[in-house]
């Protein structure tokens, strides 16, 4: 599958007071490359449809223009029915990014709400929300997406966004809950609670801003998931195949046997575009990950001993705050989660 595995779930640390100004310079090279690549695609999505040389749906009846290889008039050639591939690609990038970014925003908001609520409210709230998160993590998403869309009479862009967002939040919620648990026990949160700040303010001003790098990472991951899933669903035919997204382009290229006919210019560009967008997002995510977890950062020098050089500069590790006291029902529910196994020996002092 194209969905990247979330990396270093347990080792996220609080970013060290990010200086807004030097942020770009402090970004790892990988993240910069990813950001630039992504910028190019977003630019293409914004201005691309204005530049399309032809109407992507226009079927040129001239037989000479069926499966025409790339030339000056059609930079990426034509499809079987004489449609211009470049025009379809530019429109397709827009539709696909539109879908993926919408899913990213909606699902990330859901996961922040669920994750922060679970960790901050604690008790039975935490256990119920965590149980829901874990259940939806373990139920395979694609088969569920397939039957959901299979039942929908109209499989338009909006329906796909709703369904993908509805199943896209648990990964982020899990990570954000863990992070919030670590932060909620820290002194600055306790201080603002003592000064009588309302809960919403503690959440919005003290806690969520400290999770920006994690939220960004889970947003990027969700966008990645949305692109992968939407393209795969379109390939199966579960999408609006009358509009031009990268997925529906691939569907038509495949169902009209572009590869067997040797029309690589029809099949390769949309797939390559998906791959490049995906690579950009993975690079961006690895970069964010390295920003938040200094051990993953390259410490100069190579070889077995390279990590020795890293250790003195390691920031003080953020110890997992002691979990909040649980009521009887809550601790009963908690004992069913996989993490209950790790609870007792990863606390401070619980050395292996």
């Amino acid at each position: 599958m194209t969905v990247a595995l979330p990396v270093s779930a347990e080792s996220a640390t609080v970013p060290e007071t990010p200086q807004q100004l030097g942020l770009w310079r402090r970004l790892p090279t990988k993240a910069k490359v990813g950001a630039v690549m992504m910028g190019v695609f977003i630019l293409a999505a914004i201005i691309g449809p204005l530049l399309t040389p032809y109407d992507p749906a226009f079927q040129n009846p001239a037989p000479a223009l069926s499966l025409h290889s790339p030339d000056a008039a059609h930079l990426l050639g034509t499809t079987q029915s004489g449609q211009d591939v470049l025009s379809q690609l530019l429109v397709g990038i827009r539709l696909t990014l539109e879908l993926a970014l919408s899913v990213g925003v909606i699902a990330t908001v859901l996961s922040v709400v669920v994750g922060v609520a679970a960790a901050y409210l604690g008790g039975v709230w935490d256990e119920v929300l965590s149980l829901a998160t874990n259940v939806f993590l373990v139920i395979p998403a694609l088969p569920l997406l397939i039957i959901l869309l299979g039942y929908l009479p109209q499989k338009g862009q909006l329906a796909t966004i709703v369904v993908l967002s509805g199943l896209g939040w648990p990964w982020g919620a899990r990570l954000i809950r863990a992070q919030t648990l670590a932060i909620r026990g820290r002194d600055f949160v306790a201080a603002s609670r003592e000064t009588g700040e309302p809960t919403w303010r503690i959440l919005a001003v003290e806690i969520v801003p400290n999770e920006v790098s994690l939220i960004a990472a889970s947003f990027v991951n969700t966008v990645l998931y949305a692109i992968g899933a939407s393209v795969a669903l379109a390939f199966i035919g579960l999408a609006d195949l009358t509009s031009w997204s990268l997925g529906s382009m691939l569907y038509w290229a495949q169902s009209q046997q572009a590869l067997q006919l040797g029309a690589w210019w029809w099949f390769i560009p949309p797939g390559l575009a998906v791959a490049l967008i995906g690579t950009a997002l993975v690079l961006l995510n690895t970069g964010i990950d390295e920003l938040g977890n200094p051990r993953l950062r390259k410490a100069g020098g190579t070889g077995v001993g390279a990590w020795h050089g890293l250790r003195p500069t390691d920031p003080t590790p953020v110890l997992e705050a002691a979990p909040p006291p649980r009521g009887r029902l809550a601790s009963f529910l908690h004992s069913f989660s996989r993490s209950s196994l790790l609870d007792e020996h990863t606390g401070p002092g619980g050395t292996p």
């Binding site: 373990v138 139920i139 569920l144 990645l224 795969a232 791959a275 997002l281 993975v282 690079l283 993953l296």
Partner: protein, 328 residues
């Protein structure tokens, strides 16, 4: 209560959630599934309408709780109803035909990819900045590519053009499936390319994950202590770092199984491989709702079971978990 028992209960809850979702989807979705089936199969007589309603559980007499209960009873007897698109066949028999194909191929390929990826990740993590570490971004590119895109290109190049592998299908047409060598060798021959594409597409993910866990583990004090004692590198890597880094990797394996299954569905569609994913596609394209729902349940239960197995392995692999199991 031991850890395993508690996990079993968790998976039972997850299974119940999946069953419930499955029950409510046809009832909550707009549109009329029975209408859709009737228009798809014009040879169905109007009298089939009631039969279809009964099969899908819509318009069923009795309250929704009554329907829900009889649905649970049916599923617990592995009774998924009669198939619509391949009419007299029962859904269970179609499932029984296709599941072995999927489990054999996808199971083997996934274990191979996991083993190779983990081994490469150990090396990349230990020799940080080495050549393996530097080819990682290149591997990510393969990871980011839609799986079916990669698979279709490999199928075209290696099977259609170069004739190195057979083109799709599970075995050579005309052979009768059974336990004889002709059939088995043909089945193996046909599974090589699909397995290869699964490994290529997923190895980078395992590798990246293992590398990152290794980097975190290597930073631990006990690894530093092992080096300070003057232990040889291979002992530090394998006995100290890897053994500890494998646990999070195994947990990641459990969580990633859903993605593995998704990849398998697409793989079977690309290669026309006679497994459960291809069956799902056929069910979707022919609006065969009973079959679709049964496949969803079977896939979900398989993933839950595999997760349980991973949990058992974790308990046996982690002496701390074992000690606590015993202490209870």
């Amino acid at each position: 209560m031991s850890f395993i028992v508690r996990r079993v209960i968790f998976y039972l809850v997850a299974a119940w959630v999946a069953l419930t979702i499955n029950f409510f989807i046809p009832r909550a979705m707009p549109g009329n599934a029975v209408q859709a089936i009737m228009s798809k199969f014009p040879n169905l007589t109007p009298s089939a309408y009631g039969a279809l309603e009964a099969m899908l559980g819509v318009g069923h007499p009795g309250s929704i709780w009554h329907q829900y209960w009889s649905y649970l009873v049916n599923v617990s007897h592995l009774n998924f109803g009669t198939d619509v698109s391949q009419y007299p066949a029962s859904v269970s028999s179609l499932l029984a035909q296709t599941i072995p194909w999927t489990i054999t191929l996808v199971g083997t390929a996934t274990v191979i990819a996991f083993a190779i990826g983990t081994a490469l990740g150990i090396m990349a993590g230990w020799r940080r900045g080495g050549w393996l570490d530097r080819v990682l971004p290149g591997l990510m590119f393969f990871q980011a590519m839609p799986y079916f895109f990669l698979a279709l290109i490999l199928l075209e190049l290696l099977a259609v053009r170069a004739h190195l592998f057979p083109i799709g299908q599970g075995y050579t047409g005309g052979l009768i499936p059974g336990w004889h060598w002709d059939f088995i060798s043909s089945a193996i021959d046909h599974s090589l390319l699909p397995a290869f594409t699964i490994v290529i597409a997923s190895v980078a993910g395992w590798m990246l994950q293992m590398r990152n866990v290794m980097l975190t583990t290597i930073g631990e004090d006990y690894v530093l202590a092992a080096q300070a004692k003057g232990l040889p590198d291979h002992r530090v890597v394998w006995t100290y770092a890897t053994r500890n880094a494998l646990l999070p990797q195994l947990q990641g394996f459990g969580l990633a199984l859903g993605f593995v299954v998704s990849g398998a569905i697409i793989m079977e569609i690309v290669f026309s491989y006679p497994g459960i994913g291809l069956l799902l596609l056929n069910a979707v394209t022919s609006n065969d709702y009973p079959l679709m729902q049964a496949i969803f349940l079977v896939i979900t239960f398989a993933v839950l079971l595999a997760n349980l197995i991973v949990d058992v392995i974790i308990v046996f692999a982690d002496p701390r978990a074992r000690a606590r199991e015993g202490a209870r």
